[in-house]
Symmetry: C2
Subunit: 324 residues, 2 copies
C-alpha cells in the first residue's frame, strides 16, 4: 500500500493525461483551467489508498478517483458563483475570468463528466458505487443550501453548523474512502466503517479550516487570516462564542458581525479578543479531538494490517494537524 | 402497447406520488414547483412507450422515465438563468421567483436526483443505460454552449445551427427512446435504430418550434408569435434567409437583427416579409420532411408489429405537425 506522495503523483499523472480539450472550447477551457489550478487531491488519493488497503489494484479505482475530483471541482465552480468569490487558489474564479453563464454550464458539464467516470466500474459493483456517489452528490448540494441559508439567519446553532459541514464537506471524504474500499474488495461492513472514519476526519478537516482561517499563521496558511470574520461567516468559532457569551459579549459580537464599516484590522482584533476570552480556540480543538477519536473507533473495527492503518492515519493526521 | 394519453396519465400519477418535499425547503421547493409546472412529458412517455414496444413492462422503465424528465427540468432551470428568461409555461422561472443561487443549486440537485433514478435499473443493463444517459447529458450541455456562442456570433451557418439543436434538443429524444427500448428487451441494434428515429424526430420537433414561434397562430400556440425575432434569435428561419438573401435583403436583415429600438410590430412584420420573399417557411417544412423520412427509415429497420409502429408514429407525428 502506497502513501500519499506516491498516490498523489500517480493520480496527478493520470489526470494530466486525460486532457479536457474537446469542443466547444468555451465549455472545456474553464474545465481544464479549474483542474489545472492544482490542489492537494486528498479525496481521490483517499479513494486510491482505500482500494490498495484491501489488496486492490489502485488502477481499478482510477476512474472513481477522477469522478470524485471532477465532482469536487464542479462544486467549487458553482459555489464560487454563489459566494461571489473572486479568487480560488490565488487565481481568478471561473465566473470572474469568464462569466456566470460559462461557470454554470462548465460546472454542469463537469458534473456529467464525473458521472461518466463513476460509471466505469465492474458491473457487479456499479449499483453500490453509484448509490454512494448519488447520495453524496445530493447531500453536498443540501449542505451548500444550508450554508446559504445560514448567511441570512441570526439563530444558527452549533449543531446546525455541524450538520451543515457534515453534508457540505465531510460526506465526500467518507464517500471517497468507501468507494475505493468497495473496489478494493472490502466487505460492505468494512467499507461502511471506512465511510464513518472519513466522515469524522472530514469534520475535523473543516473545523481545522475554521481555526486556520482565524488563528493560522498567515505566512504558512498562505492567505490572510481573519477572512471568515471579515465576511461575517458563522463558523464553529463564532457560533460557539455566541453560545458561551454573556449578554455584553453577545451584543458586541452581534454588532461586529452586522457591520461592514468597521476598520478591518480592528474588527478582526476585537472578534479574536472575544473568541480568546471565551476559549473557543480550545473548544474547537476539543471538538476536533472528539471527531478524531470517533474516526479511530471506526478504523479499529476494520481488519487490515497495522502498517496499512498507519499509512491512512498519516494522511488523516495531516488533514487535521496541518498548518495550511 | 399503450398510446400517449394512457402513458402520460400513468407517468403523471407516478411523478405526483414521488413528491419532492425533503429538507431544506429552499432547495426542494423550487424542484417541486418546476415539476408541477406541467408540460407534455413527451420524453418520459417515449421511454415508457419504447419499453412496451418490445414487450417490456413500462413499470420497469419508470425510474428511467423519471430520470429523463428530471434531467430535462434541470436543464430548463439552468437555461432560464442563462437566457434571463422571466417566464416558463406562463409562470415565473425559478431564478426570478427565488434567485439565481437557488436556481443554480436546485438545478444541480435535480441533476443529482436524475442520476439517482437512472441508476435504478437491472444491473445487467445499468452500464449501457448510464452510457446513453451520460453521453446525452454531456451533449446537451455542449448544445447549450453552442447556443450561447451563437448569440454573439455573426457568421453562424445553417449547418452550425442544426448541429446545435441536435445536441441541445434532439439527442434527448433519441436517448429517451433508446433507454426504454433497452429496458424493454430490445437488441442493441434495434435500440440504436430507435435512437436514430428519436434523433430525427427531435430535429423536426425543434424546427417546428422555430416555425410556430414565427408563423404560428397565437391563440393556438399559447404565446405571442415573433418572440424569436424580437430577441434576435438565430433560428433556422433567420439563418436560411441569410443564406438565400441578396445583398439588399442581407443588409436589411442584419440591420433589423442588430437593433432593439425598432417598433416591435413593425420589426416582426419586416422580418416576416423577408422570410416570405425568401420562402424560408417552405424550406423549414422541407427540412422537417427530410428528418421525418430519415426517422421512418430507421424505424423501418426495427422488427416490431405495424400496430406498435403506428402508436409511436402517432406521438412523433403530433410532435411535428402540432400547432402548439
Amino acid at each position: 500500500m502506497r502513501g500519499y506522495d506516491e498516490l498523489f503523483s500517480f493520480f496527478e499523472k493520470h489526470l494530466d493525461e486525460l486532457q479536457f480539450s474537446h469542443q466547444p472550447t468555451e465549455l472545456y477551457g474553464p474545465i481544464a483551467y479549474t483542474l489545472n489550478l492544482g490542489g492537494k487531491r486528498i479525496r481521490p488519493v483517499l479513494t486510491l489508498m482505500s482500494c490498495e488497503m484491501f489488496g486492490g489494484d489502485a488502477t481499478d479505482a482510477l476512474p472513481q478517483a477522477v469522478a470524485i475530483e471532477l465532482f469536487h471541482n464542479f462544486t467549487l465552480i458553482h459555489d464560487d458563483i454563489m459566494d461571489d468569490a473572486p479568487l480560488r487558489r490565488g487565481k481568478r474564479t471561473v465566473f470572474k475570468k469568464w462569466n456566470p453563464n460559462i461557470a454554470i454550464l462548465s460546472g454542469d458539464t463537469l458534473f456529467a463528466l464525473a458521472y461518466q467516470f463513476a460509471q466505469q466500474a465492474d458491473r457487479r459493483l456499479l449499483p453500490e458505487i453509484l448509490s454512494v456517489f448519488n447520495q453524496t452528490a445530493i447531500e453536498v448540494c443540501e449542505g451548500q443550501q444550508y450554508d446559504l441559508n445560514y448567511e441570512r439567519m441570526n439563530n444558527v446553532s452549533v449543531d446546525g453548523y455541524l450538520k451543515m459541514i457534515r453534508l457540505k464537506t465531510a460526506v465526500l471524504f467518507g464517500a471517497s474512502l468507501k468507494i475505493g474500499a468497495l473496489i478494493g474488495g472490502a466487505s460492505e461492513e468494512h467499507a461502511e466503517n471506512l465511510y464513518e472514519f472519513g466522515l469524522n476526519i472530514g469534520m475535523g478537516f473543516q473545523l481545522k479550516d475554521d481555526l486556520l482561517d482565524t488563528f493560522g499563521d498567515e505566512h504558512v496558511f498562505g492567505k490572510k487570516t481573519g477572512g471568515d470574520i471579515l465576511t461575517n461567516k458563522k463558523t464553529f468559532l463564532y457560533l460557539s462564542a455566541l453560545e458561551r457569551a454573556n449578554d455584553e459579549q453577545k451584543e458586541k459580537l452581534h454588532h461586529l458581525y452586522n457591520t461592514h464599516d468597521e476598520d478591518e484590522e480592528i474588527k478582526i482584533r476585537y472578534v479574536i479578543d472575544i473568541f480568546t476570552q471565551l476559549k473557543v480556540f480550545k473548544a474547537a480543538n476539543l471538538e476536533i479531538d472528539k471527531y478524531w477519536d470517533n474516526g479511530l473507533q471506526s478504523l479499529d473495527k476494520i481488519k487490515i494490517s497495522d502498517e496499512n492503518k498507519e499509512i491512512l492515519l498519516d494522511v488523516a493526521y495531516k488533514m487535521i494537524v496541518r498548518e495550511k
